[in-house]
């Protein structure tokens, strides 16, 4: 077989709009940016900030390619598989990928402003960030277990290094090592689970696996098969839960957040989590609903689509049980553990864990709804997308303020924020807004985010989960308030002054820029809702 035939076989539909490569342009741009950054470091050693500008340009180009220019109001292109069924390109991919890329743009500027990276490390830092981003894009568009695995690995491996990229800091190295060891273990378990599923279901492509699953269930499943399948599913969930830092696979998160720089922590907290949730949605969507796209020939299926959907009822129940249990435990544990923290990054780590719990709730709701009410399930996924979009701004703003304060004071302890409200009121207000929004108080964007999630839970009649979620919102109020209290009320120590960062400075205005959406999205909620519904539009069909 020569090269031309190979090309013909692989990407017969490559060139032009509608081809596989066409839908893959953002990822290709990211890969090209990686190469460009590395080459620039060799070829143009004199240009010190080359990595930053090239990365930014590459990300903006990727955003441009990722933006769905051709969408009309209420008219989304149908989901389609690309690269011989390895990936799936639909509106969910497009929107979540857009969120990730947008986050990356903000994040890149943020790291450039904090300037934590030596000039020598900068290129490597951005390369790793971009590599991780490619992995995340693959995770959210995975349609084959190979891609699931490679995406997870590709998103994780650079993060391990990023967590350790802090010179002469044993804490950082220890955190990175811990992260890498746990991550490798979780990936191993996940791979084992995937291979069990693939072995029993006789395929590695997710929709085909679902088709086989329906067939097996239709013929009557044996206890042994149930055992292996549920074991496989459980092990698969271990890998996803690790990426989500869901309890009981959360223990790496506080240490890594504390050991790594605030910048890296922001990246892991937002991007990595969004991608993991995207993957979770993909897996839930594919295993709870026959997609009708790629049923292989020669598999005897139940008489019609409805019967097939009914056959998957047990699978959906299983998914709902696992995801809701994880969500409830994660949420509660994260919020309770956050109380004892004195380090701001550790507090945000537990806050991240708690929010992962909130964000898993709509996934459980979607899985519960999909059998009876597909539109409701889409609404639930839309709630998740809304939450991710708003959480992105809130958390990035929180970590940005932490990083800027660290640059100014060299400390990340909450106690050292005392007197901030007097010295730099603008920054303190931003922080307070973010904290209140993380709780979910109106009139801030956190409120509608949480509201849509709870509405989805009501829709799915998951009352217990709703109760846990509401209770947790109440719980979380106090530790977020404590930060605000320290900033505003606690007396300033005599020997040390809180830093003065006016909002008009470069740094201050960046924080303000990030805080504006936290307020504005409350009032512009309709727009968010539109995009979120667009994202969920092509799922479960």
């Amino acid at each position: 077989m020569n090269f031309d035939q190979l090309l013909q076989n692989v990407v017969g539909d490559t060139i032009g709009p509608g081809g596989s490569l066409w839908a893959f342009r953002p990822e290709m741009t990211l890969c090209a940016t990686i190469i460009a950054v590395l080459l620039a470091k060799i070829i143009l050693p004199g240009w010190k900030s080359s990595a930053y500008y090239i990365t930014l340009a590459g990300l903006l180009a990727a955003c441009f390619f990722a933006f769905p220019w051709s969408w009309q109001q209420g008219d989304m292109p149908a989901a389609k598989t690309i690269f011989t069924g390895m990936l799936i390109a639909d509106s969910f991919t497009v929107v979540v990928r857009g969120l990730l890329l947008g986050f990356a743009v903000l994040f890149t500027t943020f790291t450039q402003m904090t300037g934590v990276w030596d000039r020598d490390d900068q290129a490597e830092f951005f390369v790793l960030m971009l590599g991780s981003l490619v992995g995340m894009c693959l995770m959210i568009s995975a349609n084959h277990i190979l891609v699931v695995m490679l995406g997870v690995e590709m998103a994780s491996v650079p993060c391990y290094v990023l967590a350790g990229m802090k010179r002469n800091q044993p804490v950082s190295s220890e955190a990175a090592l811990k992260y890498a060891v746990f991550g490798a273990g979780a990936a191993g378990v996940m791979l084992f689970g995937l291979s069990l599923l693939a072995g029993v279901l006789g395929s590695a492509q997710l929709p085909t696996m679902t088709a086989r699953l329906i067939q097996i269930i239709h013929q009557g499943v044996s206890p042994d098969q149930t055992l292996v399948l549920s074991l496989g599913g459980l092990m698969l969930m271990v890998g996803v839960a690790f990426k989500l830092s869901a309890v009981p696979f959360h223990f790496w998160a506080p240490d890594v957040f504390e050991g790594a720089t605030a910048e890296v922590a922001a990246f892991i907290s937002v991007a990595s989590k969004a991608a993991a949730l995207g993957l979770l949605v993909r897996l839930v969507a594919v295993f709870s609903m026959p997609s009708g796209l790629t049923f292989p020939e020669g598999i005897s299926l139940p008489p019609d689509q409805l019967a097939a959907v009914a056959d998957l009822g047990a699978v959906r129940q299983y998914i709902v049980a696992i995801v809701s249990l994880l969500a409830a435990v994660t949420c509660t544990f994260g919020n309770l553990a956050a109380y004892g923290q004195t380090n701001m990054k550790r507090l945000l780590a537990y806050s991240t864990i708690a929010h992962a719990g909130y964000m898993m709730m709509p996934v459980a709701a979607a899985a519960a709804l999909v059998g009876s009410d597909v539109l409701g399930a889409r609404e639930a996924v839309a709630a998740l997308v809304i939450y991710i979009a708003i959480y992105l701004f809130m958390n990035l703003a929180a970590f940005a303020i932490v990083a800027f304060l660290r640059n100014a004071t060299g400390s990340e302890e909450i106690a050292d924020y005392a007197g901030l409200a007097r010295r730099s009121p603008g920054l303190a207000v931003c922080m307070a807004i973010v904290m209140f929004s993380l709780v979910g108080l109106p009139p801030l964007a956190g409120f509608p985010a949480k509201m849509t999630v709870f509405l989805a839970l009501i829709d799915a009649k998951l009352w217990a989960l709703l109760f846990v979620g509401a209770l947790n919102t109440l719980l979380s109020l106090f530790y977020y308030l404590r930060v605000v209290k320290v900033m505003v009320i606690s007396p300033e120590p005599l020997h040390r002054e809180a830093p003065t960062i006016p909002l008009t400075s470069m740094v201050g205005s960046y924080c303000a820029l990030l805080t504006v959406p936290v307020v504005a999205l409350f009032f512009l909620f309709g727009g968010v809702l539109y995009w979120a519904r667009a994202a969920a539009h092509t799922l479960f069909n």
Binding site: P158, Q225, L227
Partner: protein
Amino acid sequence: MTNHQHILTLAVLLGAVGLWLMLPRGGARGRAVGTVLGIVALGLWFSQFHGLGQWTADGMFFVLAAIAVVAAVGAVTSRNPVYCAIWFGLSLLGTAGLLLLAGAQFIAVATVLVYAGAILVMFLFVLMVAQPEGKASCDQMSWEAGVSAAAGIAMVGVLSVAIGGILAPSCPAMPPIAPPTQEELAAGVLDPHQVARLGDELFGRRLIAVEVAGTLLLAALVGAAVIVNQFSGRRHDGQQKTV
């Protein structure tokens, strides 16, 4: 419960207890008893497999499987990290032999080449350079010996019951996996152009996975370079301080 299941349950229990006894738990004793129990469990296990009906193939299978399993147990129970690595290598060789027996030539050879040839040599290199004495106190202990023994053996038990086909006659609902016909054999295992077909598949339908793996390796390479730079930078700093 059939007779099979009784024997298997017994094998699982014996295996778990044996493994627990064999794992290094501080100064605890009982390795010899554990070894005996493990061997008995392995024997019970093997007695429940269906043979392939051909003594050479069966013999090869049992020998290779025994090598793989025993070496794997050795890898987790040795107190000396170098021995752990060697046992692991042996286990890989046994696994590669099983793959070869199953007709997966390329995977078999690739296993040896990649794991035994590159990764394990790297392990050994690091172990030897990092601790020439090979006796750190943390290597003498197994964390959570009981839990890991139970979990590992339970996994093996579940797998061998459910997909190992040990109980196949008693559970008709297993997906019907017919033995391959002569034509299928000729087209698959015995195909002289096996590797070429594997390549076609890999670089045809799975091309994107190969490319992604390449990108992953690039990112990992950059990461490795970062870590190395970091440590060499640290060393230079240290030198300057001492001056």
